[in-house]
């Protein structure tokens, strides 16, 4: 006699906990071929608000953690992700309509991407910072610091590799993130939340809201306690006016990582390409410190 499945409930990931949307809403997530996969929480503007509060609260500690420590934590994320390989392959295959073999390739690439960023944490300041030889008796050093709370509109198509490719560079330098997952393919994001929760990532460092992008993106872009926003996920998002989001972001002069644009419309980047430093660079601030040298 076959055993009855214990099905998973997909919830939000905010402040290290897994709440349902405060709105009480959920929506049906379908596979690439249109079959019902699960119900996901339909995050609201208030969930985004709560996520920002959690991200702000976590920022001080995460930014102050040693880069070595952040690297260890990110590597731990890769380890736990690898441990859930089978589950992610299933979710990616179903959501993105890939063969198991292709989905396995995507999951492996995602794990490797996290490892890549894990190795960056304690090199960012060395590569992006330097001593400045000023014309005077002063010690003068410039080093990158995290920008703060970063809103991330995660890619709509690449629900795992794209997701880790946008989240990892944000937190590698010490930012905390409020991530709006792919609207149509949110399941790997929720599972990633479970990975993060069990990987020594302090609660609030990454917050994941599964939602309709168009409904919550404006609130995130306009939120004055968010310091930067990654608009990658506008590509392929229904009803999202990315120029409008950038204009909202100007309200508190957020740093804006624009989407890639081809032929006048946002397109999702090729996530298999080498990422480079751009996503790290986009969310750090250069701080320059002067001090006299004397007896």
């Amino acid at each position: 006699m076959s055993r009855l499945d214990v099905r998973k409930t997909y919830k939000l990931y905010i402040g290290g906990k897994f709440p349902r949307s405060e709105s009480g809403r959920s929506y049906a997530v379908q596979s690439a071929s249109g079959e019902f996969l699960a119900n996901a929480s339909m995050g609201s503007r208030k969930d985004v608000r709560d996520a920002v509060v959690a991200a702000r609260a976590a920022f001080g500690g995460w930014a102050a953690a040693t880069p070595y420590n952040r690297g260890q934590v990110l590597y731990r994320v890769a380890e736990v992700l690898e441990g859930r390989r089978a589950q992610f392959i299933d979710e990616v295959a179903a959501g993105e309509g890939l063969t198991a073999r292709a989905a396995a390739g995507v999951v492996d690439a995602a794990v490797d991407r996290v490892v890549w960023y894990a190795g960056w944490t304690d090199k960012i300041a060395q590569v992006l910072g330097n001593l400045n030889p000023v014309a005077g008796p002063y010690f003068n050093v410039s080093a990158p610091e995290p920008t703060g709370v970063v809103g991330v509109l995660a890619p709509q198509a690449s629900s795992l590799l794209g997701l880790v490719s946008v989240v990892a560079p944000v937190i590698a330098s010490g930012n905390t993130a409020v991530v709006v997952s792919s609207a149509a393919r949110p399941l790997p994001a929720v599972t990633l939340g479970e990975v993060l929760a069990t990987s020594d990532v302090p609660g609030g460092v990454v917050n994941i809201v599964t939602a309709q992008t168009a409904e919550v993106a404006t609130w995130l872009a306009a939120h004055r306690d968010v310091n930067a926003i990654d608009l990658t996920g506008v590509a392929g998002a229904e009803g999202v006016d990315w120029a409008g989001l950038e204009a909202e972001a100007a309200g508190n002069l957020k740093r804006v990582l624009r989407p890639q644009v081809a032929g006048g419309v946002p397109v999702e980047p090729d996530w298999t390409a080498a990422p480079g430093l751009e996503r790290i660079r986009a969310f750090v601030e250069t701080k320059t410190v002067w001090h006299p040298k004397g007896l």
Binding site: P133, S142, N252, G276, R281, W290
Partner: protein, 489 residues
């Protein structure tokens, strides 16, 4: 009458020739003056010259000239040759330093001591520094392995009136070093040094169209930043205008760097080198009449040394010499415009109404021109307008704190994040404070230091991007392909 009263020591204004009217500098030549408006000497309200108001068509011409230069001779020039032009410009600025200093003082109102010893030499230094980068950009770590950093193309630059020539240098030097061409708009009230700089470009035989200067008010600036053929915007000015620019380029491919306002905290601990701290506080807020975006306008002093520090500050302020900016002994010159003077007056009055105590040393202000005495506001709380709004004038708000944590919390309790100061003899505390302060520049046991090699720029609403140093180059290059696929900012 003090025993040792310094006799007037005025700099001669005969070293500089000011034309009665000026046109624009477009495509290597000056245009005929049109729709002119006056630029005043703020020290006596006399008219120095009439300059032209650029309309959209003038901006069009300037942008077109810059585009032609970018796609023509300048774009094909090697980095080494570009660098040599910048070296030439730097040398000419040094040779004509006296002219620039006098002109800047006349147009801006700042003391000749500052234009002579700071503005002009530092402007020349910026060209020297960036000249050397022009053929070494591949060493600057601007692009990923295998990719090349390329210039954006035509850069629109809008600069403020507080350091007219120096801000021009901060903008033009890195733009040209990286191979861009420029249309620059100086501030409405201080256009003359930029127009003299146009002559320097001619003297240096800089190819036509590489640098174009258009003058005018905010409408000109708006036409320039909104021009569709501009690839990148570099703006220094108010946070208010910075937001408008950020909004106006939303959804376009235009990049921007914004260097905006500030409300810097200057934090003085009880173990500070007090005499040098007093100098740093004074220099931090009264340099350039406090019309400095990174001015240390909020003094956060540890409560147990508040009285001592305030007493020393008051004594020191009594030795500040306020008056004729052309006198070599003047420490504090004129406020740049009536508009700015009104703003300072309004904010200080609001501070007093909110309960702050106002103090100024005895000083006789000239009857003509725009003047404000050096002013201390004590008893200021975080909630007062003078502690949150940028005054941009010679006004220091004094607040107290009890613990390092409280100092950090108060220092960071602002929408701005441009600069901050820390004064303490304890090394580990300096480094801790430097880590905690959310500001782009932290001066420890010093204040208001600038150098071409040292990146400058803010956190939060003080803007984004850095100017100066290796980091400053980033804003002027792109590593994305030439085809319009959009990019990161």
């Amino acid at each position: 009458m003090p025993t040792f009263d310094y006799a007037p020591a005025p700099e001669s204004r005969s070293v500089v020739t000011i034309a009665p009217t000026y046109g624009f500098f477009i495509d290597g030549a000056f245009t005929r003056p049109k729709a002119t408006f006056a630029t005043l000497n703020p020290a006596d309200e006399s008219v120095l010259a009439e300059v032209s108001q650029a309309g959209p068509k003038d901006v069009d011409k300037a942008v077109a000239a810059a585009r032609r230069a970018f796609e023509g001779e300048w774009g094909r020039l090697s980095g080494a040759e570009r660098g040599k032009y910048l070296f030439r410009i730097a040398r000419i600025l040094q040779e004509r330093a006296r002219e620039f200093a006098v002109l800047e003082t006349l147009d801006n109102g700042k003391p000749i001591k500052e234009t002579r010893d700071f503005d002009v030499p530092t402007a020349a230094a910026h060209f020297f520094y960036h000249a050397g980068w022009a053929d070494k950009l591949e060493y600057a770590g601007l692009s990923a392995p295998g990719a090349t950093a390329r210039p954006h193309g035509v850069v629109a630059q809008v600069i403020p009136w507080n350091f007219p020539l120096l801000m021009l240098a901060w903008k033009i030097a890195p733009a040209l070093a990286t191979g861009n061409t420029v249309v620059l708009k100086p501030a409405e009230s201080t256009p003359l040094s930029a127009l003299l700089f146009a002559e320097v470009c001619q003297q240096a035989d800089l190819p036509a169209g590489v640098v174009n200067i258009v003058t005018g008010d905010g409408r000109t600036g708006q036409a320039l930043v909104e021009h569709p053929d501009v690839d990148k915007i570099a703006f220094t000015g108010s946070t208010e205008v910075g937001k408008i620019i950020a909004r106006s380029i939303a959804g376009t491919a235009k990049k921007a760097t914004l260097e905006l306002g500030g409300k810097a905290a200057n934090v003085v601990f009880d173990d500070a080198p007090i005499d040098q701290a007093v100098e740093g506080i004074v220099g931090g807020i009264f340099f350039n009449q406090g019309q400095v975006c990174c001015a240390g306008s909020r003094l956060l002093v540890q409560e147990n040394v508040h009285d001592e520090v305030v007493a020393k500050l008051k004594r020191r302020l009594q030795t500040l010499r306020v008056g004729d900016p052309m006198d070599k002994n003047t420490d504090l010159g004129a406020i740049n415009s009536r508009e700015q003077l009104d703003r300072i007056t309004t904010l200080v009055d609001a501070g007093v109404a909110e309960g702050a105590e106002r103090w100024s040393p005895a000083c006789t202000l000239p009857t003509k021109g725009f003047w404000y005495p050096p002013t201390l506001l004590t008893g200021v709380a975080q909630t007062h307008r003078v502690a949150t709004e940028e005054i941009f004038g010679p006004v220091l708000s004094v607040l107290t704190f009890r613990t390092p944590q409280e100092a950090v919390a108060k220092a960071n309790n602002t929408a701005y994040g441009l600069s901050a100061g820390v004064w303490t003899e304890k090394g580990s505390r300096i480094l801790w404070m430097a880590d905690q302060l959310r500001a782009g520049v932290v001066w420890a046991n010093t204040f208001n230091r600038f150098d071409p090699t040292s990146p400058f720029g803010g956190y939060k609403e003080s803007g984004y991007g850095r100017e100066g140093g290796r980091h400053g180059l980033e804003a002027y290059v792109t590593t994305t392909p030439a085809t319009p696929t959009g990019a990161t900012r």
